[in-house]
């Protein structure tokens, strides 16, 4: 499965890539913000997307709204510092499938990744 990581921080993308590799997912593409991701999704055709919320140019929430608006159903995990309940609800309403709050332990992110992948396979 190809996974698209969207985060303006290369540090965070590398951390996420390392955790994905530990659970056997090495086919990873990267985008630096929502706009960059929208320009890549057709070519990348991801099976899973991890997206940050706060990014320049286009934030993660706007990306999810635009991506779902195009009719895409690929599961999306929001990985963000935004942990207020109102933000989580806003993200879920926009079409996010799972939510991980930064800071996270490798175990937490792995668990959310695996549960999201399992759900999408079962659907």
């Amino acid at each position: 499965m190809r996974i698209l990581l969207i985060d303006d921080s290369r540090t965070m993308r590398n951390i996420e890539k390392g955790i994905l590799a530990q659970i056997g997912y090495t086919d990873v593409e990267e985008a630096v913000d929502g706009q960059d991701a929208l320009s890549k999704v057709d070519a990348v055709n991801p099976g899973l997307i991890l997206v940050d919320w706060n990014m320049p140019n286009m934030d993660g929430l706007s990306f999810v709204k635009a991506y779902r608006g195009m009719g895409n159903r690929t599961p999306v995990i929001m990985v963000t510092t935004e942990s207020e309940k109102s933000r989580v609800v806003e993200a879920i309403k926009a079409g996010v499938n799972n939510y991980v709050v930064k800071p996270f332990t490798p175990e937490t992110l792995s668990q959310r990744l695996l549960e999201t992948i399992a759900k999408s396979k079962a659907a």
Partner: protein, 161 residues
């Protein structure tokens, strides 16, 4: 500054270092400071909404290098782009985790800015006092410096875009 705006940063700093770096942070008593920041490397986040001001993660290079090295999995020079990116991600996570504990306040945070250089100065927003939270890790001391305050009332809130 109200402890309700200081304690969340102590908790958030400890959680970020524990989760992301596997490091324990000992914190001292927060104290007023005359200017920002305390050390050579500043990761700066702006706050807007019901609480305004700025947060500075301030580290001496001797602490920043090993801390960033732990986050990146390899030690890098402070002139490398990844060094600034990693400091930015740390202050982003600290600020995000702290603002979630501001009871009933709607607060947005900016993308981080990084300044590296001895003796630099970060101007604080008007009508704010500076509070510095002293922090200690295995490789030395750093601080989380706050110059934030709740807005005085609706008149201070910017009109929606």
């Amino acid at each position: 500054m109200d402890a309700a705006y200081i304690n969340p940063f102590i908790d958030a700093t400890q959680r970020v270092f524990r989760s992301m770096l596997d490091l324990d942070v000992a914190t001292g008593t927060p104290a007023m400071c005359r200017s920002l920041p305390q050390f050579d490397v500043s990761g700066i986040i702006g706050m807007s909404g019901d609480v305004i001001g700025c947060v500075v993660l301030s580290l001496p290079l001797t602490v920043a290098r090993p801390v960033v090295g732990r986050l990146l999995g390899t030690e890098v020079s402070h002139t490398c782009e990844d060094f600034a990116d990693a400091v930015g991600e740390l202050v982003n996570m600290i600020s995000g985790a702290a603002k979630a504990q501001f009871d009933g306040k709607e607060v947005s945070i900016s993308c981080p800015s990084i300044i590296i250089g001895r003796g630099h100065h970060v101007a604080r927003p008007s009508n704010t006092v500076c509070v510095s939270i002293p922090c200690e890790v295995y490789c030395g001391s750093f601080s989380v410096d706050l110059a934030i305050r709740p807005i005085a009332g609706p008149a201070e809130k910017p009109a929606p875009a």
